[in-house]
Amino acid sequence: MLDVLISLLPVVLMSLYVFRGYAAKQIGICLISCLAAEALFVKIRNKPMSLMDFSALVTAVILAMSLPGTAPWYVGVIASFVAIGIGKIVFGGLGMNIFNPAMVGRAFVMIAFAGTMAASGYERAGSLVDIITQATPMDAFKQSSVVASLPSLLWGLTNGSLGEVSAFSCILGGLYLCIRRTASWEIPAGVVLAVLVIGGIDNLVSPETGWTVFHHLFGGALLFGAFFIATDPVTSPVTVKGKWIFGIGVGALVMVLRLFSGYPEGLMFAVLIMNAVTPLINQRTIPVPFGGV
């Protein structure tokens, strides 16, 4: 868990650099609410205090990084309580949950506060932080076919959810996670592979949009999700084969949602759907034992 927090550092620092006070506020709200929620629910269940396993901290940071900096304070608070309470504790605590807690919290507020959490909610005209006055690159493309420049997507000089904007910092932290073997490299590899293939096909079919396969890769929450959200071991398959299926599934669903749905981005839903399928994947990928038939 500590490794996950370390790996999130580049992303957090980048969000603080890009979004300034907005990021600091959102991170603070999520940290306090997630820890409070964990303490409260564990107390209610009369279980040993689990704050020291850092899982609530990880959920808090990932949740904060997946929210827009502009979201009002109560969005962060509610998302945190839903993430910890409904995402994790009702299933029996750490290790028992089916869905990624942070994504449960985010899905809840995304639907409950459709206005503030929609793409337009990311913009705040007249903000002192320049980037926030712009539309997110995914939405700008969906609505008005404006194509963001690749370097801006790579370094993170665009609007978006706090953690997703800089592909570079996601890769940096993600590689650390994979090298430390805290995350299984098969999952991000599967996601990227699926996006490359489907994005590549889309490129060949409609090259005129200018939104290349690399825009798909570096834009939106794809890399953040591939490295930090989809790799949650609790909610992803346990075998190597299962991890590949899971990763490819997430990548494919993201592309389906991006290309054919009304949402500009689909990573959250892709992860939640694949979380739901994980027990099935596990059941179908039981490895053949050594000397087995």
């Binding site: 071991p233 346990v238 039981i286 490895p287 050594f290």
Partner: protein, 452 residues
């Protein structure tokens, strides 16, 4: 040697596994010493896999060194022979480190005993000339092994005569002598290979002659160069090849060794015999040579007494039935910070508390760990990181097997092939949540067996 390697089609290692700290330095330089005859020995009536033995001596009866005291009942069983001269005492019950309560024969030492160097010469020294092998008929070898109560000395204690018996269904083409000793701490096989390779070689030749196998390999891990050198010198003039395999735990498991050297896979639930291989530990091979050449039964074995909790770690030639307590005092006693006694090594051994427990034919060592060796970290929740599955040499998903055991789910346990587990402990070693996976899986296996 180059030719020998061409004969073997394995890749000198197996898939997955772990690299625990070796900690062999405690006893790796200690020359095998004979311990003085103990006042009494305790011989449990099951020291092997298979049917229990039945006592053939009565209390107060006098027995000589090497006399049969309990007869194996059935084909898969192994008789027990007195390791000392003495008088049989009242029957007793003893508890072995693995938790089994067993009836036992107690023999009080009486009369003259062979001691020290004389005993070492009797068991491991003297003439083991390879030329004598060819004069033995296969049936003679088999009878000698059967009448010596020999079992696998690597730990599993499977009766050796069963492996060597004529087998119509499976033709044995290869004898594999196992000198890997992958278990951390233990060095008894290592010292045997370094100091007394001759009986090992003769035993290997005898096993091949009994089974009709044409090829013989001795597998040794590459962290034991001295053993490899000693064996290479001893095999000169024979067809035996020394296969140096990569050091990785559990390379000494027979299925993993067969894969590494011969590139054959033993089907789940069957024996090496099914792929035409007989696997035998180096100590067992030496016992076979002794049984055939000298008509002497298995009465002694080399036991490694090691760990930071022992004052002078040693490799001890001890009579079977000696108590662990006597081994400890022979090795200078426990240190002040000694905290745990383990029968065997830390990966597959059993921790126990009563120093009066006797050593059996399958006891390869006594490891004493100190307070600082035992990291007592508390168990946390499984987050399904899958590291246990990454290291399982049998390609199982240990966490799922353990989960099935925990919730008494027989069908889930079966679906995850729980019975293929041989309890090597790699999963529990790697688990970041400190879950006692092997204990849980062992319970699960018992559950599945009783539900058949």
């Amino acid at each position: 040697m180059g030719l020998a390697l061409k004969k073997a089609s394995g890749r000198n290692t197996f898939e997955r596994g772990v690299h625990p700290p070796e900690r062999k330095h405690f006893a790796s330089e200690a020359v095998i010493e004979t311990m003085p005859t103990p006042e009494k020995v305790v011989l449990p009536l099951i020291q092997h896999i298979g049917a229990p033995c039945e006592a053939v001596v009565k209390p107060k009866q006098e027995v000589a060194f090497g006399e049969e005291v309990a007869k194996g009942k059935g084909f898969i069983s192994a008789s027990i022979y007195s390791p000392i001269a003495g008088v049989v005492q009242k029957n007793a019950v003893t508890t072995l480190p693995n938790g089994r309560h067993l009836p036992a024969i107690v023999i009080q030492a009486a009369g003259a005993q062979k001691e020290g160097e004389a005993m070492l010469q009797e068991i491991l020294g003297g003439d083991w000339s390879k030329e004598k092998v060819d004069t033995q008929r296969p049936q003679e070898i088999l009878d000698a092994v059967l009448n010596a109560g020999i079992v696998g000395l690597g730990g599993a204690a499977f009766p050796t005569h069963v492996k060597l018996a004529p087998n119509e269904k499976n033709v044995v083409d290869t004898v594999l002598i196992n000198g890997c000793e992958c278990e951390p701490y233990l060095t008894c096989d290592y010292r045997l290979m370094v100091e007394h390779p001759e009986p090992v070689i003769s035993g290997a030749l005898l096993a091949a002659r009994a089974t009709g196998a044409q090829k013989i390999f001795i597998g040794v891990e590459d962290n034991k160069p001295l053993a490899v050198q000693s064996l290479r010198e001893a095999v000169r003039g024979t067809d035996i090849s020394i296969a140096v395999v990569k050091t990785k735990y559990p390379q000494g498991s027979e299925k993993q060794l067969i894969k590494a050297i011969l590139n054959r896979e033993v089907p789940v639930g069957s024996l090496p015999l099914n792929v035409g291989v007989v696997v035998m530990n180096v100590g067992t091979a030496a016992a076979v040579a002794r049984a055939v050449f000298r008509k002497m039964p298995l009465t002694h074995r080399v036991i490694c007494v090691t760990g930071a909790g022992i004052r002078t770690p040693k490799n001890v030639l001890a009579p079977i039935g000696t108590s662990y307590g006597e081994l400890i005092s022979f090795c200078g006693g426990l240190t002040d910070d000694a905290a745990r006694l383990i029968s065997g090594g830390p990966m597959m051994g059993f921790s126990f508390t009563n120093p009066g427990t006797p050593v059996t034919k399958g006891t390869s060592g006594l490891t004493v760990l100190t307070e600082s060796d035992l990291k007592r970290e508390s168990e946390t929740s499984c987050i399904r990181c899958g590291r246990c599955a990454d290291v399982c040499p049998m390609n199982l998903v240990p966490t799922k097997c353990a989960l099935a055991a925990k919730y008494n789910d027989v069908s889930l346990a079966r679906r995850y092939h729980i019975m293929a587990c041989f309890e090597c402990g790699s999963c529990a070693y790697i688990c970041p949540a400190n879950i006692p996976l092997v204990q849980l899986i062992r319970m699960g296996k018992a559950m599945v067996t009783s539900n058949k």
